[in-house]
């Protein structure tokens, strides 16, 4: 039996791709596997023990000086937060799948490319792969596997970037159209004034002095802001920017 694998980093049942996986699994009876790339450590002590000897001695050196306390605390807090959020997502996803009668097996793996590939090999044959993140672990990126699509090609199945797909399918908010109109109108008006009704103004601005310089700076800032926002919204509306850039 084939598997449908969801790399559920930040994915919920609201994602169209996840719902698609659920409906396919319900029809075909394929297994749905869920992989979490969450940190597999629970405390600072455990985290420190897992460090390689060189790093451990470095940490001890830093501790001996005075530079590391905040660093350790921040790391610990981050790990705790990540684990809490991953556990919540996992429980929620399992609940939703159970609701529609599909057993979902979840596995938490370390966030490394090697472990991820190993888990995927274990689930072979994989029918298709769904993932929520575009940037993969650094060791995979080094091998040239940059996107989920590359990862799918690497293991020989089709892959969907659920986040990008969600953005692509989502209906744009009406607010975006209003913003586009507003920023676009200001930009066009500004270009129109500067290029067609500038005349004497340009002589004044290029005469020099602090006041004209401030006016130039503010015009530049306003143009960059309005035109930049126009382009940003336009790329979102035309679904060119679905990658969260």
């Amino acid at each position: 039996m084939a598997s449908i694998v969801i790399v559920a980093e930040g994915l919920t049942f609201d994602s169209p791709a996840v719902r698609y996986a659920a409906s396919i699994a319900r029809q075909s009876g394929d297994d749905v596997r869920c992989l979490y790339l969450a940190p597999a450590v629970t405390s600072t002590a455990e985290w420190i023990e897992r460090l390689p000897p060189r790093k451990l001695s470095r940490l001890k050196h830093l501790r001996a000086t005075h530079t590391t306390t905040e660093w350790v605390h921040v790391q610990e807090e981050l790990i705790r937060e990540q684990m809490k959020s991953a556990a919540h997502d996992r429980a929620e996803l399992q609940k939703q799948f159970r609701r529609i009668g599909i057993p979902l097996s979840c596995q938490r793996i370390e966030p490394s490319g090697e472990t991820l590939l190993e888990a995927l090999r274990e689930y072979a044959p994989v029918k298709f792969l769904i993932a929520g993140r575009l940037r993969l672990p650094a060791d995979l990126v080094k091998q040239g596997i940059m996107t989920i699509e590359d990862l799918g090609r690497h293991i020989g199945c089709e892959a969907i970037d659920a986040m990008a797909m969600g953005q692509w399918l989502a209906r744009p908010r009406r607010r975006l159209w209003f913003q586009l109109t507003g920023y676009g109108a200001i930009t066009v008006l500004m270009f129109f004034i500067v290029f067609f009704h500038f005349g004497g103004w340009n002589h004044v601005l290029m005469r020099g002095g602090l006041l004209p310089a401030t006016a130039i700076m503010l015009t530049s800032a306003l143009a960059a802001w309005c035109w930049g926002r126009t382009i940003e919204i336009l790329l979102k509306l035309t679904k060119v920017d679905i990658y969260g850039s």
């Binding site: 396919i24 797909m165 601005l205 960059a224 990658y243």
Partner: protein, 390 residues
């Protein structure tokens, strides 16, 4: 003739109107130049200035006005960029302000050194100094980036080396300051040195990011995204300072800046999308190749300054050939890099859309795709309630 006198020799307020009148395509050329600079800037995280200023000069805009337009443009561009990084929490404003103070001192010293050469050797001497500094510093930076990229391409590269950072942190020079966003403790002495060097580079050749970002990553141990965000924050203030100075002298034609914006903003977004799709090693390769080609282009301009200063004897025809080659190398490298980035962005995007289109029907009507009727839509979440994009 002084730079001001040379710039005043033409009517700077009507220069662009005349150029636009003579060549109707001129506005398009400036927009394209902005697009190339913006794409490269969005893709490699910094830069663009090293291509746009000489590019404008090749299009007939006097150097001083080209620098003025570019720095005013840099201010707006950095403002947009740092806003985006700021929303994501990638800007350490405190670190940025510390670096800003020392970088302004660096800019001031750079201007003084430049003035020294200008007074001693005139316009050609100043140009020779700037070009030599450009060639020396950027060839070293370009060499290291390229070496790193080639190693990675051969499969021998690893993540950015932290050896240098550990070595500097071992020194632990007091006093130190803790920066919360960057999550690092940095020696004040190191902050002063790096800030000064960034300012000096920016004040001499107009590119501070090439030294600022690697210094923050390798010496301070700051994550790459925070280093880029903080550098943009710094660039915004440095750009504002530069725009105010050039504007006060009357060398900024806002129309040139707006034409550059028209292209660069589009390029900036396209380039930043490219970073999510192109392998890091290719980004490094493009950066290294581009810097080295720009260095070659600038090096080809040096014989003209040496001849003007009577250090060497070269024929006028030869100088003209070198000038043309310099422009060709510059524009080819810029256009080539942009085509490379656009190709990768388009290819990855179209592939992605191809998959989405195939699955869209299935997502919108799962029961039809499966060929059975038992998958009641009521049991599955309502597809009409798709999430809205931001």
């Amino acid at each position: 003739m002084t730079a001001e006198a040379a710039a005043d020799a033409f009517d700077k307020t009507t220069l662009l109107s005349q150029l636009l009148h003579q060549h109707p395509w001129y506005a398009l050329a400036l927009i394209t130049l902005g697009f190339i600079g913006g794409t490269i800037s969005g893709f490699i995280g910094s830069g663009g200035a090293f291509l746009m200023t000489p590019g404008m000069m090749n299009l007939g805009i006097p150097g001083i006005m080209a620098v003025g337009a570019n720095i005013t443009h840099k201010f707006g561009k950095a403002m947009m960029g740092q806003k985006k990084h700021g929303q994501l929490g990638h800007v350490d404003r405190r670190l940025g302000l510390f670096l800003l103070v020392t970088s302004l001192a660096g800019i001031r010293v750079a201007v003084m050194v430049n003035e020294f050469f200008y007074e001693r050797l005139g316009d050609a001497g100043s140009n020779l100094y700037v070009s030599t500094f450009f060639v020396l510093t950027l060839s070293i930076i370009g060499y290291f980036i390229m070496r790193d990229a080639i190693r990675s391409l051969r499969g021998r590269g690893g993540p950015a080396s932290r050896k240098l950072q550990h070595r500097f942190r071992k020194l632990n020079l007091p006093p130190t300051i803790y920066f919360k966003t960057a999550n690092v403790r940095v020696s004040v002495i190191m902050l002063i040195i790096v800030g000064f060097c960034v300012g000096f580079m920016a004040g001499t050749i107009g590119v501070g990011g090439f030294i600022g970002v690697p210094a923050m990553i390798y010496l301070f141990g700051i994550p790459t995204v925070v280093a880029t965000g903080t550098e943009l924050f710094l660039a915004m203030f440095m750009g504002a300072f530069g725009a105010l100075n050039y504007g006060a002298e009357g060398f900024v034609d806002i129309r040139i800046t707006l034409l550059l914006f028209a292209g660069s903003m589009v390029g900036l977004f396209v380039g930043s999308i490219g970073t999510k799709m192109v392998r890091e090693v290719y980004i490094r390769t493009v950066t290294g190749a581009l810097i080295l080609l720009c260095t070659v282009s600038r090096a080809l301009a040096i014989p003209d300054y040496l001849r003007t200063l009577h250090y060497i004897h070269v024929g006028t025809q030869m100088i003209h050939r070198l000038e043309v080659t310099s422009a060709v190398v510059l524009f080819t490298s810029g256009i080539g890099s942009t085509v490379f980035i656009l190709y990768f962005v388009l290819r990855a995007h179209l592939r992605q859309l191809h998959v989405f289109r195939r699955y869209r029907a299935a997502i919108e009507a799962p029961e039809t795709v499966q060929g059975t009727s038992d998958s009641s839509p009521a049991e599955l979440p309502d597809n009409s309630a798709l999430p809205h994009s931001q």
